[in-house]
């Protein structure tokens, strides 16, 4: 889904937009280098590995020679990303050719990581102190429950029986772009709110974390510390208990918020308290890259437009209600139907057909996941047809030109309009043309200059 890439890249853009000194300081931590390495596109990862032990700058042309011609765009994307994150340092050699070199701090940290392995600043606690450690399944259930509770509260606080401890001001920050508040009305989901719900969990998690980090800057907390703690957290072992005393004061203050989101589970012993990272936390570094989701799906779509969702979660029910008519809700099954009205409702709220279709495909139940296509073609085609039915007519504000003195003037005006991407229609025989309003000034200037 394109949304995952946009959100993840935005987080990476946030990292990349940090001042050079702060970024270099971040790169002293081996785990951050590892997380950043894992977030690069595949070609980027390869280039870093290749230049890992090379100390002299390498000519850009040499790097280009490794790529086949049809991989050139990927090559450019990888190089741009590397320079943006200051992993590659660009320079110009004596012959005025571009050269690249690995950022020295990054290089040293990564080399150390490769040879010696990384050690976390804290060790898991011995089992004689930590009693009643939850099993991995319990932990996953807990994380899922916390996350869903949080999402439900995000959409509407009335849906949740037990609200989490996140302060209402923080909630408001998260809801900033997702809900629209109108006086005397309950807050309603905006278009981005709907799209947010249909994204996969990792994308949603990154969105929330990004909002959290940008909000923390307003509160005076250093974003770099926050980012490095988040990335470090993703390298902890899932299911192991870590002493809370091993965290700095700053980290302790945010661990509570992370527990409310479901990233860690807090437990109290007799004398000490500890936190246990869940799968959501350890998946943080995986989801930075553009890889596909690896979650098990729950939705079966049939050729008669009926939707069967094997889920007990209220969140899933709400999401399905966005675009389908939910008919029955059984203890472990939600039955609904995709109808024209339900889809028109969704389209009016700003959801596109592609988002609905990719949601259904991404969350397909394993039983139907091997089938090609996962969602029957008649359903996907009909959803797209219904969407295009709403947009049968395209209207653009424009200007209509006729009575050109000569063919040359007409051709020139057409070319000008085409250059500015504003030519909507032309008739060369009668010498009439239509251009967008935005481009009108340029065409008028051209015509005036022709006199």
């Amino acid at each position: 889904m394109p949304e995952v890439r946009i959100i993840a890249k935005n987080f990476m853009d946030m990292v990349a937009s940090m001042p050079a000194m702060k970024l270099d300081k971040l790169y002293e931590n081996g785990f951050i280098c590892e997380a950043i390495l894992r977030s690069l596109p595949p070609l980027g990862k390869k280039y870093v590995l290749q230049l890992l032990h090379i100390d002299v700058p390498v000519a850009a042309k040499l790097l280009e020679e490794w790529v086949l011609p049809d991989g050139y765009t990927k090559h450019r994307v990888a190089i741009d990303r590397l320079v943006q994150l200051r992993v590659f340092v660009e320079a110009v050699d004596r012959k005025n050719d571009k050269t690249y070199k690995l950022n020295p701090t990054f290089q040293k940290s990564l080399q150390k990581l490769l040879v010696h392995g990384g050690t976390l600043p804290r060790e898991p606690m011995p089992s004689n102190i930590t009693v009643r450690l939850p099993t991995l399944d319990d932990l996953e259930a807990y994380a899922l429950q916390q996350w869903e509770c949080f999402l439900l509260q995000l959409i509407s606080s009335s849906l949740v029986e037990k609200p989490s401890n996140i302060s209402s001001s923080l909630m408001k920050v998260f809801q900033r772009r997702l809900l629209s508040q109108r006086d005397k009305e309950a807050p309603k989901l905006t278009e981005s709110g709907f799209q947010f719900l249909l994204m996969e969990t990792n994308a949603q998690l990154w969105y929330i974390i990004r909002e959290y980090i940008s909000n923390s800057e307003e509160r005076g907390v250093d974003a770099a510390d926050l980012i490095s703690f988040m990335l470090e957290l993703s390298f902890h072992v899932i299911g192991e208990a870590y002493n809370i005393n091993s965290l700095t004061d700053f980290q302790r203050s945010i661990i509570r918020d992370l527990a409310d989101l479901g990233l860690v589970k807090l437990q109290q012993g007799r004398k000490e308290s500890w936190f246990i990272p869940t799968k959501l936390a350890t998946n943080l570094s995986v989801s930075l890259a553009d890889s596909s989701s690896r979650k098990e799906g729950f939705v079966v779509v049939e050729t008669n437009f009926r939707v069967y969702a094997y889920s007990t979660s209220r969140l899933h029910c709400e999401i399905l209600r966005l675009f389908s008519k939910v008919e029955y809700q059984l203890p472990n099954l939600i039955v609904g139907a995709i109808t024209k009205e339900s889809l028109y409702n969704a389209f009016e709220n700003g959801i596109t057909a592609e988002q609905i279709i990719s949601f259904l495909q991404q969350n397909a139940h394993p039983r139907v996941a091997d089938r090609t296509p996962t969602v029957p073609e008649n359903v996907t085609d009909q959803i797209r047809l219904w969407e295009s039915d709403l947009n049968r007519v395209e209207m653009t504000e424009a200007y209509y030109y006729d009575e050109f003195p000569s063919r040359d003037v007409f051709e020139g005006a057409c070319d000008t309009a085409r250059e500015w991407n504003g030519l909507l229609w032309e008739d060369s025989k009668k010498m009439h043309m239509v251009v967008k309003t935005g481009v009108h000034t340029y065409v008028r200037e051209y015509l005036r200059s022709q006199k």
Binding site: K340, E341, D389, R392, V393, E394, M395, T396, E397, A398, Y399, Y400, Y401, D402, E403, F404, P405, V409, A413, L424, W425, D427, H432, V434, T437, H440, R444, L447
Partner: protein, 70 residues
């Protein structure tokens, strides 16, 4: 001297174009909004009728939709 007219450029399919032309024919002469019919799928109309055309098309779509009585 080149003539420039401000308005709205409409691009649609042929049946829709015919519907809009028919709509134009049924309004009184002072309200006629089509300035030029460019070809079978494009036309140029007056600026303020955009919303009116959209609502008429929506009504036309609703009229032609059958909803099974529940």
């Amino acid at each position: 001297m080149v003539n420039a007219i401000k308005g709205v450029f409409i691009s649609c399919d042929i049946p829709m174009a015919q519907y809009i032309i028919n709509m134009n024919a049924s309004v009184p002469a002072s309200d006629k909004f089509i300035i030029h019919i460019l070809d079978s799928t494009h036309m140029f109309v007056q600026p303020q009728v955009e919303q009116m055309i959209r609502s008429q098309i929506a009504k036309f779509r609703e009229d032609n939709t059958y909803v099974k009585p529940n």
